[in-house]
Amino acid sequence: MVKLESNAERHPYQRDRERQNAEKKQRQSQLTSADPLRQPSKPPIFRETPVSLPTPPLAAIVYNRLAFGPRPGDIAAFNSLAGNDATRLTVWLSQQFNPAAIDDSELDSVIASAGYTTLNKSRTALWNDHYDYSLPWEVVSQPIREVERTKFMRAIYGKTQLLELITDFWHDHFSVYAWDEAAHSLFPYYDRMIRENAFGNFRNMLEKTAQSASMLYYLDNVYSSADGPNENYARELLELHTLGAEHYLGAIDPADVPGYPNAPAGYVEEDVFAVTKALTGWTLRNRDWETGIGDTGEFIARDDWHDTTQKRVLGQLLPADQTALADGLAVLDILANHPGTAQFISRKLCRRLVSDFPPESLVNSAAAVWSANVTASDQIEKVIRHIATSSEFASTWGEKMKRPFAMAVSSLRSASTNVIFRVDPNYEDVSNWFLWEFDASGHGAFAWNPPNGYPDVKDVWQSSSSLLMRWRLGNWVINARDDNDDLYSDIVGQTISGSAIEIVDYWIDRAVGYPISTETRAALISFMAQGINPDYTLPMTEQVQDRIRALVGLIFMSPEYQLK
């Protein structure tokens, strides 16, 4: 049954090994352009029956794909920006790309009212005040709890919607499981840093993430030294943050990579090891280590921990005896400037903003903008603008599914829900109830454990468990009551009086913002009429009031409301 002794002479798997080598050679021969093995082009085929709905007006597309759904008045405001859609979008984008100039007083007052205390603390203050396990867990975790709740408040009440959306994108790209050690206490800094760089220069943001306590702990580089290198961060830096797995060529000889050494098409295992060495010593001023380096939670590049041997990263030589800082920064330059990074992240942006499987032509043109602006301070803004003003953006609809966060937030926006999330040490705030429901959707804020970030394709989010849990959120929005038994959403107070048809059409326009399918509308009218002639004006009895709320819940659960 089992061979106790190894058999070096004749391995039974020799044939498999030969086959593997053949496959490796084949892979190398195919590496010239986009690697077909790792950058596949076949679409999934089940459940791909496309949604056959007319493309809604641009205002609705903008507010669903560049924002978290329209609040009452948003669509009209967009349409009043200019005389045609193209100009409206240009004006809207120019406003959104200058968030400091946007009047966000409603959000400001919500945040002030919520009484958050950690959001503006410096890195060192967070480190000293919260990252200390001798303190109560409520104090240690206060920062992440505040950031988690603020994410909802900003998305619901904030007018800088594009910034929120792109910040959410980068949190997925540079995903940190925020309940991980240290990350929970330092997370306001991490979120602030992402937010400040969301429209800026990628190379800058890459460096900030690499030097953040949250990332250093989450992917273990905080421990990595010449004596004990830890590959975790280096590998994900290449695979997830920059070039992407589509440019990972496995364990082949670097010299066999097409374009080596001047312009290698991708990275190999040797590059992972070299990057690991180059980043040894990138750690923190941390009381856990020996004294003398301070205890502030700030980044330090420790030469005494650094592997000073010569390295070669993507063909480029890092000479021996460079400092830890010089080696690490050189690596970030190489990675940020690689065309593979432009391709990988441009595709992710197109996927977020247009469709799950964006056209390669759009990906390529966005990547060209990315590469042409690698040193620009508004590099990312330029790429987003390119994608948002493309013809593909305006002509694509229903090929993406709102993720649960967007579905929940857009429902709360549609319903003008009046809810403020606070951090209650007794866990009795409404946010605790809401988040308990929300997390069941599988999209808990900053709670994705692996380093690749939440998926951004509908195939994941249409699974029955996640779909049912998001539907429940629609009912939560219209049915949740505070301690005084008052509803958080005054649905009835916002409703016109009229017939079942008039009420349904009113709420479709208000919540969805464009005409929905005849089947969905008919089902809603049938529900609202409950056997009565749908043209009769409904009396505002208690039953009808309940019915109106249930109707709005149904709109939030409708097929159309899940799309974007």
Partner: protein
């Protein structure tokens, strides 16, 4: 949608309603006797890459010395490892409950198993493994999806053929129209709206999603059917048979769902469960205690409880095959942080009433010339070899070329009992259409990217690591 497929859960609402009636009398939806040949495959995926060398460490021979010197702070002591028969290998002491299954001849352990692809990426490796196509990330269906589509012995209608326990379904179910995902039965209900209109809301939901016109409608209708079934199943109040204790963890809760749905006889053929937290780059724990040991105990005790439950409650375990796998093993040499980095060869476990217990596979050795790229345990058995044997001998699906394209190379190790059907190395006509037909406008211009936020990101859907420092 021109693809022909079985009428699985969709369209079965009348059947659910009829069967739900019998459930109220305390009996299952069906009886085991009604489907005497119903074989159930449960796959448990250990996300993050389990350290196989500490699960089944060498306890004798020259490799013991290599193992100890490579892992000065992590090696499992000889005197705490549980020797497997008279072999030179032991079982980690935290997996003691697995040893009970092993001595009962219900558990097979296969070491040095995995993929020959050289990737050390979690996400590549999980995708390849679950798609069933190592080295090919472009596959549009999971291997279990293709099994369900090609199995010749499945009835045309099954209430619930495929289950993914968790928030989302894994890549092994990629492209499946029939899989149901279920994470929390307590909340698997839409009855949280205004009470007067709960039934009317449900009617309206069915009307809104009834038009079978798009993916969202299909997904919605299936979810409504599932809610009808789960709401009457009372899954959240499960009391296991006396003496059976599931681990107090999400994994334990998920296994309870598995046990109940198997006993409810809803027709389950394939089930997936995930257990994450195996990406132990730091503070893995010393040789027989710590983080890894605790996680391993959760795995072992969970599998034991499930198996015990299904044995005690009937003859279900005789129709059950459990496969435990992970995307890769970990580096032989420990890193500087009392952890291990990504490696290559790993371990698989196969548990069931028709398993030939024991230690299987070919040990490649740990000496320098025997390692993969001079650092990792080699892979001597392709994981598809194990799965192919289960497909043919237990699930009676000979369509190997369909399930594992390019690997129609039947060579059973003798892990399970059963008849060796002649492998079909062509693709059945009815199934080939699954891979060749595309849907309308979604054609060749679309790119399915493997990593990052791509579709295949589901591969990382469960925690690679669990380090909630509460």
């Amino acid at each position: 949608m021109t693809v022909s497929r079985r009428q699985f859960l969709m369209g079965c609402s009348s059947a659910i309603a009829a069967l739900a009636g019998s459930r109220f009398n305390g009996v299952a939806f069906g009886n085991p006797e009604e489907e005497p040949n119903q074989e159930i495959l449960l796959t448990v995926f250990l996300r993050g890459g389990i350290d196989a060398l500490n699960l089944i460490p060498p306890i004798g021979g020259s490799d013991r010395g290599v193992y100890e010197s490579s892992r000065p702070s992590l090696s499992v002591p000889i005197n705490s490892a549980i020797q497997l028969d008279n072999t030179a290998f032991g079982l980690h002491p935290a997996a003691a409950s697995l040893h009970d299954l092993y001595t009962n001849n219900d558990l097979a352990i296969i070491h040095a198993v995995g993929m020959h692809d050289d990737t050390r990426s979690h996400f590549d490796a999980m995708n390849y493994m679950e798609m069933g196509t190592p080295g090919q990330g472009s596959t549009t269906t999971g291997w279990i999806t293709r099994h369900l589509a090609s199995a010749p012995n499945l009835p045309s209608e099954i209430l619930m053929p495929a289950l993914a326990v968790g928030h989302y379904s894994p890549i092994s179910y990629l492209g499946s129209s029939e899989v149901l995902s279920l994470n929390d039965p307590y909340r698997f209900s839409l009855r949280n709206g205004p009470w007067r209109y709960q039934d009317a809301q449900r009617v309206a939901m069915r009307e809104m999603y009834a038009a079978d016109t798009s993916w969202i409608h299909q997904a919605g209708l299936q979810t409504l059917n599932a809610a009808d079934l789960i709401e009457v199943s009372n899954l959240e109040n499960y009391i296991p048979p006396t003496g059976i204790t599931y681990p107090d963890s999400e994994f334990g809760e998920h296994l309870k769902i598995v046990a109940q749905l198997i006993k409810l006889q809803v027709g389950l053929r394939t089930i997936t469960v995930d257990l994450g937290g195996w990406d132990t780059h730091e503070d893995q724990g010393d040789g027989d205690g710590g983080y890894y040991a605790a996680l391993l105990q959760t795995l072992s005790d969970g599998l034991y409880a499930l198996y015990d439950d299904l044995t005690t409650s009937g003859s279900y375990s005789n129709r059950l095959t459990v496969v435990v796998q992970s995307e890769f093993g970990r580096r032989l040499t420990e890193n500087g942080d009392s952890g291990t980095d990504h490696g290559h060869g790993g371990t698989m476990l196969v548990l069931g009433g028709n398993v030939n217990g024991g230690l299987h596979g070919t040990w490649p050795g740990l000496a320098p010339g025997q390692l993969f790229e001079d650092m990792d345990l080699e892979v001597t058995t392709d994981y598809r070899q194990i799965l192919s044997e289960i497909l043919i001998r237990r699930l009676e699906n000979p369509n190997l070329e369909t399930v594992f394209p390019g690997f129609c190379d039947y060579n059973p190790l003798g892990i399970v009992q059963g008849v060796d059907l002649t492998p079909n190395c062509g693709v059945p006509t009815a199934v080939s259409s699954l891979e060749t037909k595309t849907a309308g406008s979604h054609s060749a211009t679309k790119a399915l990217t493997v990593a990052g936020a791509g579709l295949a990101a589901t591969a990382g859907l469960i925690a690679l690591r669990n380090r909630d420092t509460t």
